[in-house]
Structures are given as C-alpha cells and as structure tokens.
Symmetry: C2
Subunit: 239 residues, 2 copies
C-alpha cells in the first residue's frame, strides 16, 4: 500500500521541506548560525523521503543559506534572521518576474555597465567589443541575429569590470528574452539596431559616459515604453 505515484511532485515536497525549515526559523527553534535537525529527523518530521530533504538542503546551500558539513550536520548561514526568512520566501515564490520590472532593471544595469565601460575600458576591452560588434553586423540578417545581439550587450557588461553587474545581467536575461519572444517585441529594423549599437560603442571608445548612457537610453526607448504599457503580464517561466 505504498501507493506508488510516478508523478513528479518532487517540487512540491521539496518546497514543503523548505517551508518547514522556514518555520523552524520563524519559531526560533533554530537560530542563524546554528545546526539544523539531521536529515533523517527532518524527513521524519515532514513525511518527505530523505532524498528529497537532501535535495532541499542542497538547494538552500546553492543559495548560500545553509552549509552542509560532511559528517556533522547542516548549519544555517549566520545572516540576520529576517534576511534568511525573506530569502527563503523568495525561493519559495519561484522568482516570477513581470516584464516591466525586468525591463527597468535591465535598463538600470546596462546603463551602469555602459557608463563604467566608458570610464575605465582597457585596450583589450575595445578589441573584444569591436569584435562583438562586427559579429553582430555580420549576422544581422541571419538566424544568429538574436544570438549576436545578446552577445554584444553581454560583452559590454563583461568589459565594465563589475562582476556583479555581469552576473545579474546574465541572470535576468533569459527571462527578458522569453518575454521578448512571447510578446513579439523588438520590431526595430536591423539597420537601425546596428546604428544604435555603433553609437553606443562610439561613445564608449571616446570615454563619454553621458553620451553612452544617452545612446543606450534611445536604444531601449521602444521596449521601455512597450513594457510600461504592458505591465501586469502573466508571469510564466522555467524555459
């Protein structure tokens, strides 16, 4: 009567375990920096198999919220209690972003990237960016258009020498692209896009942050307006 179900409610059970851990934290049964109950204990308390408990803990570890010590136990990160709780909640919410928020942040990060790039680029950076630019021009009418467009923006983010900007941009990009595709946005003519990219690159090379910011802003003008008009889009993610 194990009543084996081949379904994949793994996600739900993992979420249950994570929620359980959040409750432990909320009820002060474990404090930040302290040891969590053993995997077997959690498994017994929640009724979830140990493998799934393990999965949940590993997930939390990948967010740096717990550290699993090989033969000793799992300890909570020693951040402020509220920070832990909110981050756990954020994981449980599943990161469903709306289009407008995404576009705002993309604007924010890329603007900073472009400015920093203009201020402190090295000669090697210039080479990289011109290569990305040329790559884009060569493919602007081919099937790799989106690919190379993305690569150009990413290269700038890399050349701005701020690792956080680069990584966060990589992180939100899939969601942004998903919306673009779904909403059939980005109808600008290829030639215009090339010109806009060129203008941005030009300002960067001239070490002109304000000009670069302005060029980026007009590059994003259409999509910004579109996003502002299309807020409250149904959020659906995961590939």
């Amino acid at each position: 009567m194990t009543e084996y179900k081949g379904k994949k409610n793994t996600e739900k059970e993992v979420a249950h375990v994570i929620r359980h851990i959040r409750e432990l934290l909320e009820n002060d049964e474990v404090l930040p920096g302290e040891r969590l109950p053993a995997e077997r204990k959690i498994s017994a308390d929640t009724g979830v198999s140990r493998a799934k408990v393990r999965l949940a803990l590993e997930r939390l570890e990948s967010y740096s919220l717990v550290t699993i010590l090989p033969q000793s136990g799992s300890v909570l990160s020693s951040q402020p209690r509220t920070a832990l709780i909110r981050q756990i909640s954020s994981i449980l919410d599943g990161n469903k972003y709306d289009f407008n928020s995404l576009v705002q942040v993309r604007n924010l990060l890329e603007t900073a990237a472009v400015r920093l790039c203009a201020e402190r680029h090295t000669p090697e950076d210039i080479v990289l960016m011109e290569k990305a630019m040329q790559d884009f021009v060569d493919n602007v009418h081919g099937p790799l258009r989106d690919e190379k467009d993305f690569a150009f923006h990413t290269t700038i983010a890399r050349c701005c020498h701020n690792s956080v900007i680069y990584h966060l941009l990589l992180m939100i990009t899939p969601d942004v692209l998903g919306f673009y595709r779904r909403l059939r946005a980005c109808a600008t003519l290829p030639e215009d896009v090339v010109q806009e990219h060129l203008k941005i690159l030009e300002c960067i090379k001239n070490s002109d942050p304000d000009g670069a910011e302005q060029a980026l802003k007009s590059h994003f003008a259409d999509i910004t307006a579109f996003a502002a008009a299309n807020t409250n889009e149904v959020p659906r993610f995961r590939l």
Copy 2:
C-alpha cells in the same frame, strides 16, 4: 578496489559534469532546445556516478537552463547558444564578487527602489515602512540592530513594487553583509543612522524622488568611499 573515499569532492565532480555539458554545447553536439544525453550516458561518459550527474542536472534546472522531463529526458533551454554557455560558465565560476562591485550594484538598486517608492507608494506601503523604521529605532542599541537595519532597507525594496529589484537585492545582501562584518565597516554612530533613515523615509512620504535619492546617497557615502578604496579584496564566500 572500489577504493571508497569519504571525502566530499562532490562539488568537483558536479562541476566536471556541468563542464562536460558546456562542452557538448560548445561543440554543437546538442543545440539549445534539444535533448541532452540520458543521465546514464552522461554518467558513463564522465565517469561520475549517476547521483552526481543528477545533482548537476538539478542544479542547472534550478537556474532554468535545462528542464527535466519525468520519464523522457532533459532538454536544454532554448535561449541563444552564447547565453547558455556564458550562464553555465558563470555558475562554474562560483559567483565570487568583489566588495566594490557589490556596493556599486547595491547603490544602483537601492537608489532605483527609493525613487520608485517615492513615486508610487500606496498608503499600506507607508504603514509598512514606518513600522520597519520604528522597529529599527527600538533596536538601534540592541543586538538586533543589524537585523532591523537590514529589514528597513528590504522593506523599501519591497514597497517599490519592482519584484526584480527586491529579489536581486535579497540575493546580493548576504555577500554585502559578509563583507561589512569582515571589514569592520559601518562604523557610523547609531543616532546618525537613525537620522539618515528618517530623512529617506521623509522624502519618500513627500513623494520626492530626487530628495530621497540624495538622502540615500549620503547614507551610503561612507561605505561607497570605503569600498572604492578597498577594491581587490580577496573574494571568499559560502556562508
């Protein structure tokens, strides 16, 4: 001759598998949107146990780079090839951020949050923020000081009604706090911090984005200067 090793080189083997998948992608052996080799196949190809292969795939799935289909296989996300490769590389690098980059981005995100908050707060938002403010004042000399300080900033991020800003801020906060603690930064007098928080909240309530931005900037002035002076800090994370 199984030569059982109780060590935890799990991380290294998982990384090996992820690197293997990146190579498949780089060599065009699998394209975005296509099916990956079966877990058992990957396990045989890499010499890593299937459980670890599984772990690697689940990690990639948690970043939305692959989707695991219950009894059918794992398929790559259909983003641009370059995007996938760079995101995988980013995971392999392990997200080691330097202090200066973190502070720059924190500035960026919180500035945007404060402005948005001033522009479009609701009455309920005001209640939440004043409650967070009061909470901070009540604990400014107690052991929960950092906790409540953090909670105040987070509440603003939540009230700005941009889910991406909120989540990204939550995401980088542990790293920021880690640096603060390690570098013994944040030596400002408690009373001054209260005043600065009050000023920010005041501007938000008056729907004055520029004032709020200015108040935030002076709130962050010390740490910004400190971070700029202490770049190239050795990056060490995970709790």
